[in-house]
């Protein structure tokens, strides 16, 4: 349960950072923390006591209890790629915003936007 709690802490930290930090780049960092939190949660679901890494050794008949659950790992590979893609696109946007408006502070940007 404590492992899940850490995921919740990171998630709340991330979402709070996104909403409250004034600078867009720091919001992006907070967004990454939030996405990593979800990945931590899924990986902690996959853990089995007394199980090893989900890669088959020298053959033999694999038993379900001996290996970790591979499904969350697969899902989290996708989640990591999604988080990197969003961050990449967001950074591209920020470079463009910075060059156009000379600031990355949300409050000043909103004034310029109206």
């Amino acid at each position: 349960m404590t492992t899940y709690a850490f995921a919740a802490v990171l998630f709340t930290l991330g979402i709070a950072g996104m909403a409250l930090l004034p600078n867009l780049l720091r919001k992006l960092l907070a967004m990454n923390v939030m996405q990593v939190a979800v990945i931590v949660f899924f990986v902690s679901l996959a853990f089995k006591d007394g199980a090893t890494v989900p890669i088959l050794g020298q053959g033999g008949d694999p038993q379900a209890a001996e290996f970790m659950n591979p499904l969350p790992h697969t899902l989290m590979l996708t989640a990591i790629v999604v988080s990197v893609s969003t961050t990449g696109l967001a950074l591209g946007l920020l470079v463009r915003i910075r060059s156009r408006f000379e600031t990355l502070n949300e409050r000043q940007l909103l004034d310029k936007l109206r």
């Binding site: 930290l13 780049l25 960092l29 990986v43 996959a46």
Partner: protein, 82 residues
């Protein structure tokens, strides 16, 4: 697995601390460095939990690539958060 459990809690605590610092600090390069640390700590924790594929991906995709992009954005914009 009691002692493994202890290390995992320790790593998780370190992750939370580094994430909090990354968000709190004012200078972009320091934030990027702290975020890199956070990613690599997460990768180690994944490896600890047996998620080797995820650890590998998190290390190079999340840790290296994202940090490089953040640092290069620092050069494109300005080091201080305004």
């Amino acid at each position: 697995m009691a002692e493994g459990h202890l290390i995992s809690i320790g790593l998780l605590a370190a992750m939370v601390v580094s994430a909090a610092c990354a968000l709190a600090v004012k200078d972009l390069l320091t934030a990027a460095a702290l975020f890199g640390a956070f990613s690599f700590l997460t990768a180690t924790w994944f490896a600890l939990l047996g998620a080797v594929d995820v650890a590998f991906t998190e290390a190079c995709v999340g840790g290296a690539l994202t940090t490089i992009l953040f640092v290069s954005t620092a050069f494109r914009t300005s080091r201080r958060f305004d």
